[in-house]
Every structure is written in structure tokens, then in C-alpha cells.
Subunit: 255 residues, 2 copies
């Protein structure tokens, strides 16, 4: 079914999904722009899309899949959008029910995020995971919500291919303490010279306070990204997304 | 001299430094918070600082250096601040007149930024440079201003140790085309398997469009950060700060 106008109610509904409470209530989230909507259409169930008439053809196939398509004016998309510049297409998707098995966990590397706060960092980390074939990210419940519109956009579509779980990290790590659990610390071993396994968990910590003690106690392999030259006064740390990029690159470089 | 109140005019002045025009006119910029103000006091000329009375002692030594110190109330700092939570100290600094020599250029690696737009990315890249002992960053004139309050804050103090230059990249790269000039491209050589030199320029491109052709033509070493597994459908690219982190780590790992 193709509707010819994006109703005020639908605009209100889209805008309401800025709120985590509303997203939890409806189990949905918003994605904006052709690239990310197209990526999500491959992996996520879509509630509806609103699209400019001139781009309708590209999405008309959704009709056969029973997905509601709405042609919308620029004006309407502008009202519905969270971006400065309204995109040609907005999609509302159902949040996937991500699961994982113990076998998954044992056979690859996975990320664990302890309290990441910044949506940009979160999106960048999901992109890094996607680039390096890391399928699961386990987040403490106080990590920024992956379905926040800002976070969704900053994944640039990677959100369609990486499974993000919110979970009690203490219980999760306790249950998986037989795995190699890596974390970066200033007193860790030089990552360039350490053996890295083909499986295990990599813990990254909060922007300000790093890995909290209740998570740190489960880390059994402490790593350090050496600064250069070693004795120079430098920043206290790297940004968490930058550190994640280097650590993941080091794991994959050796495989 | 210690002033006992942050005047309305000073608050207005600090707030005006959000504008690039005003920053250019006065040649100054704002930094907020104890860490970054302390870092900048080591390397930059300070115009004045405004500080809570209870923290005055920590900065009283500036009096001997002839720097104006103002004790300010929380209320006043809140009005002057660009942050959600007002910091205990705000400093206004003179923009340093950064220079560089041909010898500098030949004896280390340096970054070149072609049109980076996001203040968070810019700050993260300056932190990466600081961590890896990269002293100079050469930016196209349309790269986001390092002295934008948001960028300054996201450097977490690294701005005090890295020299950022805004320069015509076409002329700069032409004049230095005898150097090894690296850039990352999807058709580049596997960075893990390529020889990397101890000196040269590393070009990183704009978030959306990458390295522009007028810059690309000067790149004489094309690199690629391999995704994993090689044949899997993945994100089109890494975030530019994540890519910068990996490239710099690769250069320094081998030294």
C-alpha cells in the first residue's frame, strides 16, 4: 500500500522516537537517508518508510513485502527528521531481538562496552566492529542506546550488520570467565608484542573513567597501546573509539 | 592582579569567542576545565583565567607571571561556559603562531587533513597525534577550526602539544612532493604488509567524500586498511578518526 501523504500523527510518532521510553514502548527506531535505510531493509523488519516521490521507484519493491510506503514532501520529511538537512527517505524499523550462543562466543572475538556515553563514539565503534567482522557487542545497561537517532546515524549503516546487546556485564563476564577477556590499561602489556587469540572478549571502558572495577576484575589479559616516544609527556589516553580501532586492527592483523 | 568578579563584559567576550570571526579578530580562544587549562598554561600565552574561589590557590602562581586571575562564582562561570555543566575554571588563551621548518618535515611523520568537518573527529585526531608523537597537523582551510570551543574540549589537552596549521594543501604538497606522501584508499596496498617510512606525510580525507582529487594527485603511497574477513559485505569505510588511529599505530609499531 502506498500512502500519498505523511500524516501529522506519523510525524509526531517519528519525532516521539527520540525518547528512549517511547522506543522501548513501541520497540521501534528511526533511520534516515538512503544508505542506512537500504542497509537496514536487508536485516531488519521495517514498519514503514516515508520517501520523496522522485525516489519512490527505488523502494516500490517493498510493496510486495507488505511494507507500508508513504510518499512525503520535502516539507513533511523536514518536520519528521532529526537531521539539519532533511533526508530523501526516513525508515522506521523494529528493534531486532538479538540473541547469541555460547558457540558464537567461543569462536570469534567480540566487544564489551562498559558505559560508553557519546553517541558518536558508539556509532564509530559499531562501524569498527562491522569493518573487522566482529558480530556481537555486549554493552552495560548504562551505555548509550544504539537506537538513539544520533547513534543510528553515526553507524552509517553498520548497525544493520552488528548485533548490539544490553546486558548485566558482571553476570555476563562471570558466566564467560573461561574465555580470554582483554582490556586496555596504562599498566598493561605492549599490545604490539603480546600474543592475541582468535577468540575472546575485548572490553573498552567509559570515556572519562575507563573500565570500572566490577568489570576490570574479570579481565584476564591486560593490554597497553604504547605511546611514542615512550618517555614523552603526552595525552593521558586515546579517545575510546580510536583505541578500539587500534585494538581490533591488532587482533585482525595477525589472523 | 586578582579580580573578584567576572564582569558582564568579560562573560560577553568569552561567549563571543564561539564565533570564528571574533576568534580571528582577537586572536584568542577559550578552554574549559582544570586539565586542559593546566595543559595549555605550559605551552600557550594566557590572556586571563576565571576560577572558583576554592580553586584559586592552584592558579595563584600565575599572578607572578602577570596573568590576570579572576575569581568567579558558579553562576558567572555557568554564564560564560559553552558546556552543559560549568567547569571550575575557564581560560582564554592567545592562538599560538605555529611555524615549522623543512627539517622538521623531513625528520618525522606528520598528518595532513583534507576537509575534516566534525569537531569530535578533529579533537580525536589531535589526541591521536599527541599520543603517537606527531607534532604537526596540516589542514586545508575548510577543515573545522581547531579553536572552536567544541574542538578544543574534545582534544582533552592534546591541543597544548600538537601544532595545527591551516594552509593551502595544493601548494604545501607541491612544495613537499619529494617526501613520501601516504593516503588511504580502497584500492591501496595492504597497510599491514607495506613498508612504512620513519618520515613523511599521512593524508586523511573528509568524512563524506574522502581525499579530494587536488590532494590525491600528490599522494605517492596508497594504503588500505583491510577489512575482515576480506570478502564479507561490510561498511563502506571506517570513521576518519578510527582510520587515523590505525594508520598512526601502524607507523609507530614498526619503529
Amino acid at each position: 500500500m502506498i500512502n500519498m501523504t505523511l500524516s501529522k500523527n506519523k510525524i509526531k510518532y517519528i519525532q516521539s522516537l527520540k525518547d528512549k521510553k517511547r522506543r522501548m514502548e513501541y520497540g521501534t527506531f528511526v533511520a534516515e537517508g538512503k544508505k542506512i535505510v537500504s542497509d537496514l531493509l536487508v536485516s531488519c523488519q521495517c514498519q514503514f518508510i516515508a520517501v520523496l516521490p522522485e525516489m519512490l521507484n527505488e523502494f516500490a519493491y517493498l510493496n510486495d513485502r507488505g511494507i507500508e510506503i508513504i510518499t512525503a514532501s520535502e516539507e513533511e520529511l523536514k518536520k519528521a527528521s532529526f537531521l539539519k538537512t532533511a533526508p530523501p527517505v526516513i525508515g522506521v524499523f523494529y528493534q531486532p531481538k538479538n540473541d547469541f550462543s555460547v558457540v558464537d562466543l567461543k569462536n570469534n572475538i567480540h566487544l564489551v562496552l562498559d558505559g560508553i556515553q557519546d553517541p558518536g563514539n558508539m556509532g564509530t565503534i559499531v562501524r569498527i566492529a562491522d569493518w573487522f567482522g566482529i558480530e556481537n557487542i555486549f554493552c552495560s545497561p548504562d551505555t548509550v542506546d544504539i537506537y538513539l537517532p544520533k547513534t543510528v546515524q553515526s553507524t552509517m549503516g553498520a548497525i544493520a550488520r552488528v548485533k548490539v546487546h544490553y546486558i548485566d556485564l558482571n553476570i555476563f563476564l562471570k558466566n564467560n570467565s573461561d574465555l580470554l577477556i582483554y582490556g586496555t590499561f596504562l599498566d598493561g602489556e605492549d599490545i604490539y608484542k603480546t600474543n592475541l587469540s582468535e577468540n575472546g572478549l575485548i572490553v573498552m571502558g567509559n570515556e572519562g573513567s575507563g573500565i570500572r572495577s566490577y568489570v576490570e576484575k574479570w579481565v584476564n589479559r591486560r593490554l597497553f597501546i604504547p605511546n611514542y616516544p615512550a618517555l614523552r609527556t603526552t595525552s593521558e589516553s586515546l579517545n575510546v573509539a580510536a583505541a578500539t580501532a587500534i585494538v581490533c586492527s591488532e587482533f585482525r592483523r595477525r589472523e
